[in-house]
Amino acid sequence: MSPAGGQERGSLKVFIGMAAGVGKTFRMLQEGHAELAAGRDVVIGLLETHGRADTAKAAEGLESVALSGIVYRGAAMKEMDTAAIIARAPQLCLIDELAHSNVPGSDRAKRYEDVEEVLAAGIDVLSTLNVQHLESLNDHITELSGVRVRETIPDAILGRAEEVVLIDLTPEALLDRLRAGKIYPAERIDAALNNFFRIENLSALREVALRQVAEEVGAKRLTTELVGSREESFASEAPQAVGERLLALVEPDPRAQRLVRRAWRSAQRLGADLDLLWVRPPGRTLSVDQERSLAALGQLASVLGARLIEEESDDEAAMIKDVAERRGTTYILIGHERPPRGLGRLKVPLPQRLMELLPGVDVRIVADRSRRGNGDAP
């Protein structure tokens, strides 16, 4: 963990659960106490006790940064004072309910934005989140539970957390806690039992939470495994390349999408891997449309399971040769090129140069099917 006040970003640890009442805040406070006992400077930036005596008691002994007052529509409201936390510069700050929307008029609209500020100041943060607040799961959980949650956070926020801890509880145990008045006051218990806190809802939410955390763990493991320079990546993969490997030459142009689709179909039939290569002329700047095309190519490559490689060189054929050799390419696919103009007519066409440079590699020019007559197909 990083020291407070330094340039290094603080680390984020999120306690995630299937619903209110599973014990996320309690666990966060327990961890805060453990860190305090270990000698770290710990404060509470914001705590939502929801009137729960157990939670308030668990916070005893931890310093709290005073909240700031905001008047909204004539009512005095309280919000977390991010500036005061940064000025206090603790090593660790506990900030409850990451998905909370701040009162209008606050410096930032969402609490996760405040948390980003605290992290940027080099302060480590512990926070809590219910799984239904994740943006990508919001629709799915609405379908499961029939209850739409309005406060959402982008998945990337959770993706950036160094640690995600699932606070798990069986639905039966959670319902017992609810009935015992440990989650909501007595007057809200019946309504909760009849709406969100139904056993089928909680079971589905628990499954979603378990999968989400498994996914986070899997993604982090993959990221760790893939760390390393591109050259190392190439070196480690090339010897494993057995059979066919296709390389499609693309440009940031809408027509490249079609070439990629055709190359992918060919790769599927051959049981081969597919790489996409764009050789960028040195110093070339892209227009907005070209930037979009390049991003769309990256997205297409990712969905198809292909790899988009971008290399800079003023000798396109030499760079293609270089990449093809490193990747163990057996097929190169090229789209239909525009007819050369001016002095370009004197140059040897790219397919011909590639056949000379890469004698063991097949070079295929992919036709533009839209130029064929198109019958009234079904």
């Binding site: 799961l137 996914e215 993959l222 689709r261 979009r292 839209s370």
Partner: protein, 182 residues
């Protein structure tokens, strides 16, 4: 010689000056440039496709057919989805071929999310477009549900063209429409 030069000057001025020339075009309102045609199933309504082509021709716009892939819950959001792509890519190809053959420019996209709506939301956040065309159809194979359409109307800041159900909705474009080997 002078007469020929005068004629050339006249032709040039006629081209540049209003009401038909470039200056006039510059002053006209910006036309709709990108028409999104999202789908998540294995086929799309031919009426929506034809509407997109008609509008694109009339407004000199680009059609953006977008395949919305759904990432199963047990997979990371960034997963490759070859099984769904095996269904979606041929349909994208068919749409692109048909639109290109009618002289309309096409710029395809692929969206990915936990649901079709999630994929569409991400796509909309990443890409500007001026109009979206969908057909009202609760057939899940065809794409977006009524609930999704309501969400579109509430949340998407663009012109949305929803085609009401019609008897000819059984006319669809599917992967079978791909011309030649794919």
């Amino acid at each position: 010689m002078i007469a020929a030069a005068g004629m050339l000057l006249g032709i040039g001025a006629g081209y540049w000056l209003p009401p038909h020339g470039r200056l006039a075009r510059r002053d006209r309102p910006r036309p709709v440039r990108r028409i999104l045609l999202p789908f998540s199933g294995q086929q799309i309504s031919r009426r929506s496709f034809e509407a997109a082509v008609r509008l694109a021709k009339a407004e000199d716009a680009t059609i953006m057919p977008a395949f919305l892939a759904r990432v199963p819950m047990n997979l990371p959001l960034e997963s490759a989805l070859p099984v769904q792509c095996a269904r979606g890519m041929p349909l994208l190809e068919a749409i692109e071929q048909r639109a290109s053959a009618q002289g309309v420019s096409v710029d395809s996209r692929v969206g990915r999310g936990r649901s079709a709506r999630d994929a569409l939301r991400k796509l909309i956040e990443a890409e500007p477009f001026d109009r979206i065309i969908v057909s009202a159809d609760e057939d899940p194979r065809a794409g977006l549900s009524y609930e999704d359409l309501r969400w579109l109307l509430e949340r998407v800041p663009a012109e949305i063209l929803i085609l009401r159900p019609a008897p000819e909705d059984d006319r669809r474009i599917s992967a079978g429409a791909v011309s030649g080997h794919f």
